[in-house]
């Protein structure tokens, strides 16, 4: 199975090259993208089953000895994230195709998207720090292109913030990597724990902080979050759906990896404070907004706080809670942005003051919004409740009372701002169908079935089908929470067990 690991990266990247070669033919590009994204998902699922059965898979590129080679390491944690991410990437790809006119318009959408898939897979599989940086760069550069795809004024403006901040983040990360290399003489994540442990505490703290700042910016934690609500809403909906669902979570993944593997004994009091502040600032920001995309973007920040809280609490139980939280959060957040995309397509805007009464026009669309919204807030039958329950229980076990209080209060405030979207966009009398500014075709379509209830969903068949699929996935996570949580526990053991990791990589 380990021979499949390089394929996960090579295939999307080759697909991107091929897609560039067929730049004049949209259908060919679509076939290439679907094939690559589908195959990536299939391989990820196969790997997930295999790794769960047989333990960590390692592939040393070029056949070098694994202590000097570039290693791709797939343990349970990495494959779980790979599976959920590639599924989302595939879903959003289909959704983007269902948009007919809008964002897929640019011929560079497919190559950039495939490069993004390759970067995401690489970042999850990277077995050494420098390659983690390289794959981060690959996915970032792809995301720069996707974010500024249409080159409009707004996209360039918010893209500038995003690109410049991420470039600076890369410099911080490379500095960290260079200093770690200077201090230890290796970047292999299997050899680093031992060598880092020999360093003086001060040096270790400095190195840890450099990595935390770099990944923290990527994950949008408290002092470094301001780029996110500014840039994500400018992107086309399917792009911001995949950014919202995935990119920040890859930052969180890198934080978990470095914290559990490289710096297991750090005092995380500061991180816990940062987690609390991230939750509060995100949700307060969300309440102040009046645009659906912006509210949802601020919620990403707030939700990252819960994951950082799990990391800061530390220990196998807290890490497994965090992993479960991430697995639940990725589809929930993606589906909210997908619903937002349908709303925007239907109403021509995502500003809550201009959209209203969507519930009466389409009940199913309202349901598609409500399920992930309640899940995000953490109401009982949904997956978000289970994720929050796990994280908060761990907080209570470790007697960090104030963070528990903050987490619960923020959860309530999340519900309030979700209700703001609900009352703004879905409740009330239907607004007269405004002519969508961007798409004439959709407006012509739904002028016909204005009176019927489900015209909204039928007009956007493929988009609605994908959204329903993703929402069903979030429900499935709640239904199969038991086995999934046990898997997350095994993944957390994989992520925290230094010796097992080292033994798997270095035979």
């Amino acid at each position: 199975m380990s021979s499949l690991l390089p394929l996960l990266i090579a295939m999307p990247l080759l697909g991107a090259a091929l897609s560039l070669a067929f730049i004049r033919s949209r259908p060919v590009q679509r076939v290439i993208s679907l094939t690559c994204a589908g195959a990536t998902t299939a391989i990820s699922i196969a790997l997930l089953i295999d790794v769960d059965r047989n333990g960590t898979e390692v592939s040393s590129l070029g056949g070098w000895r694994s202590d000097i080679a570039i290693n791709l390491v797939a343990d349970r944690f990495a494959t779980l994230m790979l599976t959920i991410s590639s599924t989302m990437l595939l879903a959003v790809l289909v959704y983007a195709m269902g948009q007919r006119t809008d964002d897929e318009r640019s011929r560079f959408y497919h190559p950039a998207y495939l490069a993004l898939i390759g970067g995401v897979c690489g970042a999850f599989l990277a077995g050494d720090l420098f390659n983690l940086f390289v794959w981060f760069e690959v996915l970032l550069i792809a995301s720069y292109v996707l974010l500024t795809l249409e080159g409009t004024d707004g996209q360039i403006r918010s893209g500038t913030t995003y690109v410049v901040l991420n470039v600076i983040e890369s410099f911080v990360l490379v500095t960290g990597v260079a200093l770690i290399f200077a201090a230890t003489g290796t970047l292999n994540m299997a050899m680093l724990p031992e060598r880092l442990a020999e360093l003086p505490d001060g040096v270790r703290l400095g190195l840890n902080l450099l990595l935390l700042i770099a990944f923290g910016l990527k994950a949008a934690v408290f002092p470094l979050y301001s780029w996110l609500p500014d840039s994500y809403p400018a992107a086309p909906s399917p792009v911001s759906a995949v950014f919202a669902g995935l990119l920040t979570k890859i930052g969180v993944y890198a934080i978990i990896r470095t914290q559990t593997l490289l710096f297991p004994d750090t005092n995380r009091e500061l991180l816990l404070v940062i987690a609390g502040l991230t939750m509060v600032v995100g949700v307060v920001g969300a309440i102040a907004q009046s645009d659906m995309k912006r509210i949802l973007s601020f919620h990403i920040v707030s939700q990252i706080g819960y994951m950082i809280m799990g990391v800061a609490l530390g220990g196998v139980a807290a890490i497994s809670a965090t992993i479960f939280y991430m697995v639940h959060h990725i589809p929930v957040k993606t589906s909210l942005f997908l619903v937002e995309g349908i709303v925007e397509k239907e109403a021509g805007t995502s500003s809550l003051s201009k959209v209203s009464g969507l519930a009466r026009r389409s009940g199913p669309l309202a349901a598609l919004f409500l399920i992930p919204a309640f899940s995000l807030a953490g109401l009982p039958p949904f997956s978000g409740f289970l994720g929050k329950l796990a994280v908060v229980t761990e907080g209570i076990d470790q007697e960090s009372w104030w963070i528990v209080a903050v987490a619960l209060a923020v959860s309530l405030m999340t519900l309030i701002s979700m209700l703001k979207i609900w009352t703004g966009a879905f409740w009330g009398a239907p607004s007269p169908t405004p002519v969508p500014q961007s798409v004439g075709a959709a407006a012509a379509d739904d002028a016909g079935d204005d009176g019927e209830g489900d015209g909204v969903l039928r007009n956007h068949g493929l988009m609605a089908a994908v959204t329903t699929g993703v929402v069903t996935l979030t429900l499935a996570i709640a239904v199969f929470a038991g086995p999934l949580y046990r898997f997350c526990e095994r993944a957390a053991i994989d992520a925290t067990d230094l010796r097992a990791y080292a033994e798997a990589v270095l035979p």
Partner: protein, 119 residues
């Protein structure tokens, strides 16, 4: 790391940081270029024994080849990112005749909100 190298890295990083603080995207890009060079030099200095060839198996000392491989990769990535930023700066310039980084759009939207609701 020699003193000269340390001073050079420091000067590059300081002037890069100064330029990045500006509003004009062109200056920010120049600043990022300088910062990138500072970081690249830092990577290079993380290997020991300057002046020796990075070849194993020769008589005598050799330099660690890993930092050189790392720095090559970092240079290529930096080159790509800066080209992209230049394209963005050009695009910003064709749109509105300057390439200033604008105010935070969120703040501005919030400030404009009353107008938005009345219309």
């Amino acid at each position: 790391m020699s003193v000269e190298q340390a001073i050079l890295i420091g000067v590059l990083a300081a002037s890069g940081t100064y330029l990045v603080m500006h509003r004009t995207l062109t200056r920010i890009i120049l600043g990022l270029g300088l910062l990138g060079n500072a970081v690249n030099l830092l990577i290079l200095s993380s290997g020991d024994g300057p002046g020796e060839p990075p070849i194993i198996g020769r008589e005598g000392d050799f330099t660690d080849p890993v930092p050189q491989a790392l720095v090559l990769t970092a240079i290529v990535i930096g080159f790509g990112v800066i080209s992209f930023l230049l394209a963005m700066a050009y695009r910003a310039w064709t749109i509105d005749g300057n390439d200033d980084a604008e105010d935070d759009i969120t703040d501005r939207r919030l400030a404009d909100q009353p107008d938005e609701e009345t219309t």
